[in-house]
Amino acid sequence: MIVRLNTDLAAGILGLAFAALLWLPREEMGRLSIVFPRAMIILTVLVALALVVKAFVKPAERQIEIEGSPLRLVIAIAILFAWWYAIGLIGFLMATAIAFFGFTWFLARIEMSVSARRLIMWVPIMALLIGVFYVAFTEVLSVRLPTGSIWS
């Protein structure tokens, strides 16, 4: 998909927005803590303004191209965040089992129709994959993975 967008202008506005985000909620802070960030915020604003000016004088690209399907992009982003949210809710193992399965199914459908038999065949492969990493992290690296907040 090709979207018409002046990329210089977009980058410039983004820079200004980010600078504003850090500039506005200024709490009381000692000089030593704020001198460097403030200098950097000013620098960011200057660069962003330069980009905005350039956007009108000599713009670089007026369009951006999202390769592939934008719908799939949005769904993929949603899956990532849902996965993360679910880990906090129902624990790493269960969330990953569900998200892994769902993500795989979603991706596989791009290329082929997924039969029920194939879905069942995936289960041991995924259980092995998830199990190996789970055991490696919890047992060998002794990382305590989230077990989920709704169980307790």
């Binding site: 803590s33 915020i41 660069v47 670089a60 799939r72 991706l107 990493f133």
Partner: protein, 522 residues
């Protein structure tokens, strides 16, 4: 000398060699997982070394360190994800090579470069430690500020599109680095009322997010795997090895230059391996006959990055063993182990307790040698797995490992969310021409620059004009000159080129993605 041979003999036993082999392999796998850094590899394996004799324990740690720095190259080349921060620069050309079906060649080149780098570092350490160590203490806060500035001139070559957008990315990175507790002053900044943000944005969290997530998202939206399936080996290990060694040793200037850069940066305390590979890459590009080919799969970029970061492993031991100054983050753990065994850093370390020290240093050399077989075989295995795995298994696996690695870094659930958020934003930033590399560079150097700047201001607080402290020492002046020189040589050509040939540069705005035409091959 006697102690040197005594140490050599104790390594050249079955047990000694086995320890190193196991250490290298373990390090390699941990290092290749995004999020699991060399520091973590060492920390995890530390308890195991308590059960060993001091020498064996140190040998194991040296081997793990060497292996994990090298392991970062695997994921950098195969899935565009630096396994450790020290292999960021490896992605620039390694991944494009992989996309062109030359993944194994890139892996072989990285392996050869790492082996040479590792051995060169050990040689420097054994022969030149005392004079090099003297150089380490010259770098005070003011000098560190200029080192960071010198590093920031890299933005010019990392942005490879619009320079202004590269600068903006660098600013974003620096601003991100200021979130959390201020290094001087100890106050919380920009935490938006979330106590957990006091920890700031960890470099590796941003690194994983900005490199992995955009790649995963674009693979998902395009419905493709990381590597073209046609990317098979031609003729196996032997041919690739011969071809790459002929290329690397045929014109060894790049290799030599990268090794020297690696050693110099390794002894600057606090700069560490995160920057070495970027600087070496930048110089390789600057001195190359065809700088335009960098970022599009030039094997010299991989060689520069991987040789310099492996020099750093033994190289950063110079200030550590002689002065007790850890040059890279992972060195702090080595220092702890040395102290635990009653080894106090100092020149005496090489004479009084020479067997242990020499044994430790030599074991890193052997570890570097072992990278060759382990890397060539392991690389082939991992390469085959990555190419053969259908992309609908590959993507969820990458995401799972990324989540695990990010979580394990600080046992922080918030970090995982930050990683995903930064990555998603990074995807859209990439669309409008702001790439990940300048942001990460800003994040690395922002902390160094701020510390250097504010500390200098404090130290010269009693002077009439405090900021003159920044240019007081002779070395500071040299560094200022270098910054100006570097800025001039890297900015001018790109400016000239851009103003003169607008049309030609536009297709290269985003070298992360290979030309659509090439990709469409069946």
């Amino acid at each position: 000398m006697e102690m040197f041979f005594q140490a050599l003999m104790s390594i050249l036993t079955f047990e000694g060699l086995l320890t190193i082999l196991v250490g290298v392999t373990a390090g390699l796998f941990i290092g290749s997982l995004p999020g699991l850094t060399a520091t973590m590899a060492l920390a995890v394996l530390l308890p195991f070394t308590f059960t060993m004799s001091p020498l064996q324990g140190l040998m194991a740690l040296g081997a793990v360190y060497m292996g994990s720095i090298y392991g970062g190259a695997f994921t950098a080349i195969l899935i565009n994800t630096p396994g450790t921060p020290s292999s960021i620069a490896t992605t620039f050309d390694g991944y494009p090579m992989a996309r062109q079906g030359k993944a194994y060649e890139a892996l072989v080149a990285a392996t050869i470069a790492s082996v040479v780098g590792g051995i060169v570092g050990v040689a420097f350490l054994l022969l030149l430690a005392p004079p090099l160590a003297r150089l380490a203490v010259v770098f005070g806060p003011a000098e560190m500020f200029w080192v960071a500035m010198l590093g920031l001139t890299l933005v010019a070559s990392l942005s490879s599109g619009s320079l202004l957008k590269g600068l903006l990315g660098g600013c974003f990175g620096i601003l991100l680095s200021t979130i959390g507790v201020s290094p001087v002053g100890g106050e919380t900044r920009f935490n938006f009322g979330i106590p957990a943000l006091q920890g700031g944005i960890e470099l590796i969290v941003a690194l994983i997010g900005l490199f992995v997530v955009p790649e995963v998202l674009s693979m998902a939206s395009q419905g493709r795997g990381a590597l073209p399936e046609s990317g098979k080996l031609e003729g196996g290990v032997g041919i690739a090895f011969r071809k790459m060694s002929r290329h690397i040793f045929g014109k060894p200037v790049n290799l030599i230059r990268s090794c020297i850069i690696g050693q110099i940066i390794a002894i600057i305390p606090g700069a560490g391996g995160n920057v070495t590979s970027l600087v070496a890459y930048n110089e390789a590009k600057r001195f190359s006959g065809k700088p335009d080919s960098f970022g599009k799969g030039n094997v010299d970029g991989v060689v520069a990055s991987e040789s310099s970061n492996n020099v750093m492993v033994a190289g950063s031991m110079v200030p550590l063993l002689t002065l007790g100054i850890p040059g890279a983050p992972a060195d702090a753990i080595i220092l702890g182990v040395l102290l635990m065994h009653g080894l106090r850093p100092g020149i005496d370390l090489f004479t009084e307790t020479g067997v242990l020290t020499n044994g430790f240093v030599l074991s890193m050399g052997f570890a570097a040698l072992f990278l060759l077989p382990v890397g060539l075989l392991g690389g082939r295995l991992i390469h085959r797995v990555v190419v053969k795995t259908p992309f609908y298994f590959m993507l969820p696996s990458i995401v799972m490992v990324t989540i695990l690695g990010t979580y394990a870094l600080r046992n922080s659930f918030l970090d995982v969310g930050l990683m995903l958020l930064l990555g998603t934003i990074g995807y859209f930033l990439r669309l409008i021409g702001i790439r990940a590399a300048p942001i990460v560079l800003g994040l690395i150097l922002g902390i160094i620059a701020e510390n250097g700047y504010v500390q200098t201001m404090l130290i010269s607080i009693a002077d009439p004009i405090p900021w003159l402290g920044l240019v007081e020492n002779p070395l500071s002046k040299v560094l200022v000159a270098l910054v100006l020189l570097s800025a001039a040589t890297s900015l001018l050509p790109s400016w000239l080129e851009r103003s003169g040939r607008m049309a030609k540069t536009t297709p290269d705005e985003n070298p992360d993605r290979v030309n659509p035409k090439e990709e469409g091959k069946p």
